[in-house]
Symmetry: C2
Subunit: 252 residues, 2 copies
DNA sequence: CGACAGGTTGACCGTTATCAAAGATCGTGG
DNA sequence: CCACGATCTTTGATAACGGTCAACCTGTCG
């Protein structure tokens, strides 16, 4: 079982920031906050108040400091983790030791599901990118909830479905598009997120973008410059990007 | 609604075999066969006999000839398709027109789910690779079944979960490994499937392997030769491959 | 037997990784 | 609040990897 205690049993190998000591601790009180936690998650927030309270009963909260691992590849899966505050990086390590950024979780997102319904062994790593607080539901408790409230299963089904679509789309892009195109599409999607306006802030470092897009920071740097010279975008200070030609980006 | 009729309303653009006329037709009879159909599918075969009969009630069967499309990107999703006999190629087309093979469905596999729980619009193409027979459950009927028998949702959850894991693993490979490595891992997994013995038959044409692995037939040809020269494998007649050094394959 | 898709081989070139080094930025502690 | 160090980012030079094009095989099927 991966309680906070055994999820931070060491430093992971490829991140040198450290200061990685384990200060996670459980909150046993504040029913109020727990309420909030349940109600911000799409998979639960459709339920009636009293059902949410029932869920809040079985939820435990944990804190993670920047750089700490919530779980690692090889860990036994034992809980569903819902982000209440902070950000979590989900990444994989290839046999050859290269890292690929899979996803970044923000408040309301959840993880840990894959292993829960499967082998029970995590294949990816989850690392807090900053001070982060998560709600956890243990495997057994989740099982009980799913049986009692089938609507939850349907919500998770919808979430899985959309993630699968997303993941397969991403795979297809890797298979068929070159870096420049993947980057262009990535930028276009960033704009979608921050709806309105033609400007946005990159949601992660260029290093992480490189990892996410399966390339190197050097190439990202060069390709962004190229896109700028071609008049598609404009790079501003503080990771701000202005899209000058969204149409064009999609056609690259 | 994508009944057999409107799923074969034309030839798709990039496959020249044709003889692509639409001969699909519905079977309204044979309760026996329908029984078999339900019982071979992992997501249903755990149910009691009478529940399976209930499902058989709402199932419709369709035939597709080689090359026909079950659905196409852009189609409105309206049903879950379960393969009873034959093989189905699921592939995506990039904006630039390149094709990526996502998966090959064999009897017992299902598809159409993604769109069912989401937007409702397919993003991929499904094409019969040979004479194929599918069972379909319409969107509404499936919804009813899921509400009535939550256990089905849990089964689908497990299936989604494993596909997600698989898809994310594949994405990570594209992001971090070169073609030679991806091919080596692919071969190793082929061997896993055909458990026992160190020999197997490639599950698809080399052209399709190339599409699946995001490369070209030329490169597959060359890399297979290279793996052979390095003593990892031996290519035999009729797409047979003998693995000489499984350990080595994993380390490439 | 002929047609045709699939497969192989060779020559070439474009894209992107790599290595190195310098410059910018961020967070931290004094 | 500034200074320091660490990390991130940029830029350049180089080379490997793999895509493309073209020609030629090969097996299969009518």
């Amino acid at each position: 079982m991966a309680t906070a205690k055994n999820t931070c049993d060491g430093h992971h190998r490829h991140h040198l920031t450290s200061a990685d000591s384990c200060h996670s601790h459980e909150h046993k009180d504040d029913g109020g906050l727990q309420d909030i936690c349940v109600s911000i998650v799409p998979i639960f927030n459709h339920l009636a108040k009293e059902q949410m309270n029932e869920i809040a009963e079985v939820i435990q909260h944990f804190d993670y400091k920047k750089g700490e691992n919530i779980y690692r590849a090889g860990d036994q899966s034992d809980a569903l983790y819902i982000v209440r505050r902070g950000k979590i990086r989900i990444y994989r390590l290839s046999d050859s030791g290269k890292e690929q950024l899979v996803r970044i979780l923000r408040p309301g997102d959840f993880t840990g599901e894959l292993a829960l319904f499967n082998e029970g062994i995590h294949e990816a790593y989850a690392e807090a990118m900053e001070e982060t607080n998560v709600c956890t539901i243990r495997r057994n408790d989740l099982q009980t909830l799913l049986n009692k409230y089938p609507a939850i299963a349907l919500k998770i089904l919808a979430e899985f479905s959309s993630r699968l679509e997303q993941s397969e789309k991403q795979t297809a892009r890797f298979a068929t598009e070159k870096v420049e195109t993947r980057l262009a599409l990535f930028l276009a999607e960033c704009l979608d997120d921050e709806h309105s306006s033609k400007e946005f802030v990159l949601p992660m470092s260029k290093k992480d973008i490189a990892s996410y897009l399966g390339t190197t920071p050097e190439t990202i740097s060069r390709k962004l410059l190229e896109l700028e010279e071609l008049g598609y975008i404009k790079q501003k200070a503080k990771k701000r990007i202005e899209i000058l030609d969204l149409e064009g980006l999609h056609l690259i």
